[in-house]
Amino acid sequence: MKPPSRVREMPILRVIARALVPVILLFGLYVQFHGDFGPGGGFQAGVIFAAGLIIFALTFGVEALRQVVPVVLTERLMAAGVLLYGAVGVVAMFLGGEFLDYSALDPLTTGHYGQHLGIIVIELGVGIAVAATIMRVYYAFVGRRPGEDETGAEQALDAGAGREVS
C-alpha cells in the first residue's frame, strides 16, 4: 500500500527518516546492552527501539511496518520476553539458588560474573517485551476506525486491510 499522499510529498521527511531509523534502532541496542555500565536498561531500550520502528511506520505507512514486524510476531515477542526473564529465575533455581539468584548462574567462579550475566539476560527479556508491547499498542490504535469495534478492526488489520495513519 502506498504511503499517505501528504507524507509522500515530503521528501525531506522521508530522507531524514530513512537515515535516522537505523541510527535510532542502533541506539536502542546500545542503551540495551550498555545499560549495566551507564544509564539505560531494557525498558528504555525497548521504548527507543519501538519508537524507531513507529517513526518508520509514520513515514512509510503501517503496511510497510507490518511486513517487517507482523502483528502476530509482536504478540509472541511480548510473551517471549516475559518468559526469558522468568526462565533466568527458574534456571537459577535448577542450579541450586533461590529464584532469580543470579549468583547461582555461575557456580564455578566466584565474584560477580553470575550477577552480570543474569542482569543482562533479564534486561534483554524486558527490552523485547517492552518493544513488542509498545508496537502492539500502536497497531491496536492505528487499526481502529471510529465506530468500529476492536475485534472487527483487528481482523481487518490481520487480513492486511489496515489503513495508514493520516
Partner: protein, 494 residues
C-alpha cells in the same frame, strides 16, 4: 523440600501465561492451565500442612536477605489464603464451559487463559509476599487481569462495567500505594515485618494515621466494603460465568486478608481497635451491608445480580468478624472467607450451567427449571441454604463463630442483627427456589427442550455443593486453621 520450591506457587502461573500466548492452541492452553493450577494447589496444601501449628517459612528472592530483599513469608494465615485461591481456581478451571455463552472466539482463547493465569498469579502473590511494594505490584497484576476478564462477558455492558471496575480499582490501588509510601517515609523500609517492628503508631502522628486511612480505604474499595461496593454487582453480573465464580470466590477474599494484615500485623490491634477505635466505623458499615445489600438482593430479577448483592452482604459478615478484634470473631470472619468462597463459587457455577442450558438467568426464564434440571437445581438449593446459614452447611459454621465472637465482645444487639439479616437471605434464596420448583413456566417460553447440564459442568458445581455440606460438618481444616490464623494475627504476626 517445600521451602525450596515455595516461590513456584506464584512463578508457575506467571510463566504459564506467556507459554499459553506462545503456543496459541486453545485445547493445549486449557489442559496446560489446568495442570498448572493443580500443581499450585498441591504446593499450597503442602505449605498449609507444613506451617500448621505455628511454623513459618521464609524465602529470600534472588538470595537477597530481608529487609533489603523481597521476602516471601508463609505462615498459617497466608497458607490458608493460598489454599483457598488455588482450590477455587482448580474447581473453576475443571469446569468445562464448552464454549458456552459468552463465547471467547477460538483464535483468542489462549489470551483468555493467559489472563486468567495472570490473575491467579497476582492473587497468590498478594497472599504470599512479605513486602509492601511487592503487594502493590501483585495487586495491580490481579486487578488489571480481572478487568480484562470481566470485559470478556460478551454483553455490551460487560465492557462498561469492566471500565467502571477499572476506575474504582485504580483509585483503590493508588490509595494503597500512597499509604505504602507514607509508611516507607515513616519507617524507611518496605518489608512488612520490618515496618511493623519500626512503626510506633500514635494518634499524634498524622502521617501514620493518614497512612492507615489511605490503606484501609484503598483496600476497602477492592474488598467492596459497603458504601464502596458499587463496582461489584455490575462486574459480577456481566463477567463470563466462570470468571464471576472465580472472582467471587477469591478476589475479595484476598483483599480481606490484606486488610486484616494491615490492621493487625502492621498497625497492631491495640492501636487500631483501642486507640483509634476503627470498629466504630467498621461495625455499622458491616451491619448496613448485611441489611441493605441483602435487601437489594431480594429485589433483583437477574440471578447473577442477586448473587452479587448477596456477596456484598456476605462481605459485611467478614468485616464484622474483623471489627470484633477477638480470636473467635476474627476466626469467624476468616473461616467465612473459605465458606463463602465454597458456596458463592458453587452458586456461580450453577449459574453457568443454567446459562448454558436455558440461555438466560432472568428469574422469569427459570420458572419450572427445577424439574428439567434436577441436579443443577439441587446444587443451587444447597448453596442457597448455606447462604442462609442452615445447620449442616458451611454458612452455619461461620455465623456460629461470628455470633459467638460478637457476644464475647458484649455486642448483643449486633448478634441479634446477624440473625435477623439471615432472614433476608431466606427471602432472596426462597424467591429463587420458589421460581425453580413451584412456578409454572410461562407459555411464551417453553422449557421442554431444556436438559440437565453436561457432566463436565455439573461435577465441579457439585464438588463445591458437597464441600459446602462436608465442611459444614467437619471444621478442623476450616475453622481449625482459621482459629490458628486469627490468633497469629491478633498476636501481630503473619
Amino acid at each position: 523440600m517445600i521451602e525450596k520450591i515455595l516461590v513456584l506457587e506464584v512463578v508457575l502461573p506467571l510463566l504459564a501465561a506467556p507459554v499459553c500466548v506462545l503456543v496459541r492452541h486453545p485445547r493445549f492452553c486449557r489442559l496446560f492451565s489446568l495442570g498448572v493450577v493443580a500443581a499450585c494447589f498441591a504446593i499450597a496444601v503442602a505449605l498449609l500442612v507444613e506451617v500448621r501449628g505455628g511454623g513459618v517459612i521464609s524465602y529470600e528472592l534472588g538470595g537477597w536477605p530481608p529487609p533489603l530483599g523481597i521476602e516471601y513469608r508463609v505462615s498459617t494465615v497466608n497458607a490458608y489464603l493460598l489454599a483457598l485461591v488455588t482450590s477455587m481456581a482448580l474447581v473453576v478451571f475443571s469446569f468445562d464451559s464448552r464454549g458456552g455463552p459468552p463465547r471467547v472466539p477460538e483464535e483468542r482463547r489462549h489470551l483468555y487463559y493467559a489472563v486468567f493465569l495472570l490473575c491467579i498469579s497476582g492473587l497468590l502473590g498478594i497472599a504470599i509476599t512479605g513486602d509492601a511494594f511487592n503487594i502493590f505490584v501483585f495487586l495491580e497484576i490481579s486487578s488489571l487481569s480481572s478487568y480484562i476478564l470481566v470485559s470478556l462477558g460478551g454483553h455490551r455492558r460487560a465492557v462498561m462495567s469492566a471500565f467502571y471496575y477499572l476506575v474504582m480499582g485504580t483509585i483503590g490501588g493508588v490509595f494503597f500505594m500512597l499509604g505504602v509510601g507514607l509508611l516507607y517515609q515513616a519507617t524507611g523500609t518496605l518489608n512488612l515485618r520490618d515496618i511493623a517492628a519500626r512503626l510506633e503508631p500514635s494518634l499524634d502522628d498524622r502521617g501514620t494515621v493518614l497512612a492507615l486511612a489511605l490503606l484501609v480505604v484503598g483496600i476497602s474499595i477492592k474488598l467492596a466494603v459497603f458504601p464502596l461496593h458499587h463496582w461489584l454487582p455490575n462486574a459480577y453480573s456481566f463477567a463470563p460465568p466462570k470468571v464471576s465464580a472465580f472472582l467471587a470466590a477469591t478476589a475479595t477474599k484476598v483483599s480481606f486478608y490484606l486488610l486484616a494484615m494491615v490492621l493487625f500485623t502492621i498497625f497492631g490491634a491495640p492501636f487500631v481497635f483501642e486507640e483509634l477505635r476503627l470498629q466504630a466505623v467498621l461495625l455499622p458499615l458491616s451491619i448496613l451491608a448485611m441489611f441493605l445489600a441483602s435487601g437489594a438482593a431480594i429485589f433483583q430479577t437477574d440471578l447473577r445480580r442477586l448473587l452479587a448483592y448477596s456477596s456484598v452482604a456476605q462481605i459485611g459478615y467478614m468485616t464484622l468478624g474483623l471489627s470484633t478484634a477477638n480470636a473467635t470473631g476474627l476466626a469467624g470472619g476468616l473461616v467465612h472467607l473459605f465458606n463463602h468462597a465454597v458456596m458463592k463459587g458453587g452458586l456461580f457455577l450453577v449459574v453457568a450451567c443454567l446459562l448454558y442450558r436455558v440461555g438466560s438467568v432472568h428469574i422469569d426464564a427459570l420458572a419450572g427449571i427445577g424439574r428439567r434440571m434436577p441436579l443443577t437445581s439441587a446444587a443451587l438449593v444447597i448453596g442457597g441454604l448455606s447462604l442462609i446459614g442452615v445447620p449442616g452447611t458451611v454458612g452455619f459454621v461461620s455465623k456460629w463463630y461470628l455470633v459467638s465472637g460478637v457476644l464475647e465482645r458484649g455486642w448483643t444487639a449486633a448478634a441479634v442483627l446477624i440473625l435477623l439479616s439471615s432472614l433476608l437471605a431466606l427471602v432472596y434464596v426462597g424467591k429463587v427456589v420458589e421460581v425453580l420448583y413451584f412456578r409454572k413456566p410461562a407459555e411464551t417460553q417453553p422449557i421442554d427442550h431444556v436438559r440437565e447440564a453436561p457432566l463436565g459442568m455439573l461435577a465441579p458445581a457439585w464438588v463445591l455443593a458437597a464441600a459446602a455440606v462436608f465442611f459444614g460438618l467437619t471444621t478442623d481444616w476450616t475453622y481449625g486453621v482459621a482459629r490458628e490464623a486469627a490468633e497469629l494475627l491478633l498476636a501481630g504476626g503473619i
